[in-house]
């Protein structure tokens, strides 16, 4: 198994995610691009877990590296990143929907701030 294939795939996916975040105006599409970036990181974690560790057989792991010296640490981190991404999408979509309700827009590069200044806001 050549590890370079998933690594390069992940790098290109991350570049696509950066491109999407910078290019898109629609907040939901920005979130989708962020998901692409997070998945690229997950792919790197899983690939490193599957390939680098098996190449390190017989290498003495330092004691200060304790939890990292366990097998499947990369996969565990990928699971943690998936959970973080789910939380991030939940909060992000709550912000986007609230913003849409207040401004009737989902564009992130033209946020109208003046409504708040000249109209009374009820808390």
């Amino acid at each position: 198994m050549h590890a370079v294939i998933p690594y390069v795939t992940a790098a290109i996916l991350f570049g696509l995610g950066v491109y999407g975040v910078l290019r898109r105006r629609n907040a939901i599409l920005v979130l989708m691009a962020v998901e692409l970036m997070l998945n690229a990181i997950n792919l790197i974690f899983v690939t490193a877990d599957a390939t680098v560790r098996s190449a390190l057989v017989g290498v003495q792991i330092e004691s200060w590296a304790y939890p990292n010296s366990q097998p499947h640490a990369g996969s565990v981190f990928a699971l943690f990143v998936i959970v973080l991404a789910a939380a991030e999408v939940g909060v992000g979509l709550a912000i986007i929907l609230q913003y849409y309700r207040m401004r009737q827009a989902v564009h992130v590069d033209e946020v109208a701030l003046h409504h708040e200044a000249d109209e009374q806001v009820v808390r």
Binding site: V18, L29, Q70, S75, V91, Q98, R123
Partner: protein, 175 residues
Amino acid sequence: MTVADALLLALGAVAVGSGFLVVTSAHLVRAGLYLVVSLGALAGLYLVLGAELVAWVQVLVYVGAVVVLLLFAVMLTRAPIGASQDLDRPAGPALLIGGGVGLGLAALLADAFRWTIYPQAETGTAQRMGEQIFGAWVLPFEVLSILLLAALVGAIVLSRPDLGARREEPESVEG
């Protein structure tokens, strides 16, 4: 070139191709559906790499939940059905930075790992992963549960209908 390599290449091509369509498609709903294809191909990549549990969690959480949430948001913001013309900003800086990051990282990783053959690691089944999560990584796991609770409460508080409501036009409060 083994079967695993061919599968990695094919699934990687699918993931990158549909990822490209996610960031270039002019249809909001189609971008979400291409995201499903991309994330599904990534789940296949995890399977080939031997991370079984991560692959199924990816299918469950990402393809099953996150994309559905995103499509809900597309509908709730009353997105048009057809192609939208105002989804994009000028391409220049994004192309420069995104292409630079992607190609730079790809060149770095390709130079670091070359065309070396690595042996296949042992499969990350649910039993092995569970031993790790509830053994070495139990403290981060518990912290993560607190974070999920905080995100849940935060999302509920952010969705309160009285937040930012205006006195003059109370009918704009419905959501």
